[in-house]
Symmetry: C2
Subunit: 401 residues, 2 copies
Amino acid sequence: MAVTRSAKPVSSDQDVGGFTAGAAAAGVRDGTARRLDVALIVSDRPCAAAGVFTTNQVIAAPCVVTRRHIEKGPIRAIVVNSGNANACTGELGERDAVAMAQATALKIGCDPHEVAVASTGVIGVPLPIERIASAVREIEPRQAGWGDVARAIMTTDTRQKTIGVEVPLAGGVVHLRGIAKGAGMIHPNMATLLAFVLTDARVGVDDLRRITARAADRSFNEISVDGDTSTNDTLLVLANGASGLEPRGDELPTFAGAVDFVCESLARQIVADGEGVTKVFEVRVKGAASDDDAKRAARTITTSNLVKTAIHGADPNWGRILAAAGRSGAKVDQRKVTVRIADVVVFASGPRPFDVETVRRILAQKDMTIELDLGLGEGTARAWGTDLSAEYVRINADYTT
Amino acid sequence: MAVTRSAKPVSSDQDVGGFTAGAAAAGVRDGTARRLDVALIVSDRPCAAAGVFTTNQVIAAPCVVTRRHIEKGPIRAIVVNSGNANACTGELGERDAVAMAQATALKIGCDPHEVAVASTGVIGVPLPIERIASAVREIEPRQAGWGDVARAIMTTDTRQKTIGVEVPLAGGVVHLRGIAKGAGMIHPNMATLLAFVLTDARVGVDDLRRITARAADRSFNEISVDGDTSTNDTLLVLANGASGLEPRGDELPTFAGAVDFVCESLARQIVADGEGVTKVFEVRVKGAASDDDAKRAARTITTSNLVKTAIHGADPNWGRILAAAGRSGAKVDQRKVTVRIADVVVFASGPRPFDVETVRRILAQKDMTIELDLGLGEGTARAWGTDLSAEYVRINADYTT
């Protein structure tokens, strides 16, 4: 998704009307309160809410609870912790997730059902619920407190991930703020992607759900660090209407484009911060028999270890790219395929001579594009992948439980 | 598949009635004839033939030609080369594969349609067909020449892979010989798995096809080195009946068990010889809603980079195993799942306390078993995987095209 011309990125201290945010250090992981690890995002009025959750059937308790709360009605706050995923924790896990909502509801004066809950960290360890509840009580949410939230939700991330956007409508400007943590389920027992998007626009819940599902498809669902989905993946979008402005008619696609832009920016920040990642590559598939086929081919290429290692080694192994497409389940007829690395054609219905050194130089860069035209139809898709480095293996093999 | 009690492994100089084999050095890769790279397996009479070929839609020319020849009728010989996969070579590739069959037919005096063709090596480079045809003419097939064939088809393999079995029937003994090369599509542009099984039993072609499909499912289709399937994967089983003995009634399952055993032995040899592989692990899934579900879960676990790196680092990260099952598409309800590493229960409807050092010791061994009981039904499956080492990345990234 390209940046909508009318959406403007803004700095991280941007205010989003009606929202406050803050964090505290609870010592979730080991009882030592060394870093921020519990955060609150609070709206002064009920928000239309939309969520996208992990498709992993081993779904964590906070995802189950939050999905239920969102289905019930509007949301007033998000409470989130890092250091412990509250996943694979059985019935106790669900009680603990509800207890996080209750502590937050008590603090801000709302119903527990109006609180969304998210967790990230180690799997299979009961939540230190008392320490978290105590931290919730001590947080003092403030305007533009996004940086604290972004830091508090980091696990193996090396950088905060946040983006602000202003969207001009006929009656004035609405604001969007995105905050995320990554980086794929790349670290042992570290449960993955959390992303929150807050806006002061007024948007109906049905529109918001449609916009959110589309934005997830065009951003987080296109990234692959290691092909594993987490037990805790959560995207939440809250719209509180504090600006008094509602995108209507032509403005609605503009607003949707801004949500796309925020999610794509967060997804790119996540990919670029993947552990052991030295390069990011984009795979564009066109000419597929269907969009689904294109998506299958693109995703299989970005998750192929042979492609990932070739990219790491700047090796123009187009045979691996073609073979990955061939096993993806998408319809592929090699007599009709064209493969480009950046703008260099390396295969067109058969091998094409190309300057190996030129392609090596392209692949030696930090990001690059691979394009497949399957020559069969109108289906298109895009996916982002990362290289596979010896460092990745070291990080994931040497972790001590 | 367990070894059938009545099948006896034998040494590699075993004779299989009616078959001769040999190899020559053609310099397929670069014109320098330093090593055996073209091989022939010849039967003195027509063989019932069954084949299993790559499911990759980017299928190599020799697979296309051999599939056609097998459908037409009996087979008299297999001609195979390493050093060049004859894959992604367009129409020229198919003409070259037919030319290999013609050269072989001319030498032994049969129809070109009675010759099966296989190739392995670099993708996208035209076959040096003259050098190969010339090598075919100079090969002198002999009884028990299996070692030469096994050496000639090696690419990145470090060891020959062969197994011989005798099966006693009521009227006497029939022989089976298996020869294979690996090791997953693990080396850049090196096209993968070739396996040939020869027997002097008399078996009807319909029985042979059923037996072969089953054996492939229980062996080669269960192994995963890197999740990539090759353009050239081929399993061929030839039965020439030279023993005069036909397994009948109860003997047919015994014979089928021997084919399973040969294929499983070859598959294990391939996995153990994977590049950058230091460990092999077996995943057993039971209690799945269906066999298909069990297979999905087992295969997703064996191909998960997070599981593979954890095994490499001897890290008892059961959360990764459970999360891989959860995203496999199989029905999974974590409240019903039991996970065992060797015989140690680490999860049973929730985390179970276990002695970490004991499990570390298990995972530090060269092979190990992981068992998941999904607690939902009667579905079972098994898959073998390998660890993911920094050495794997080095091999696959540092290759120079």
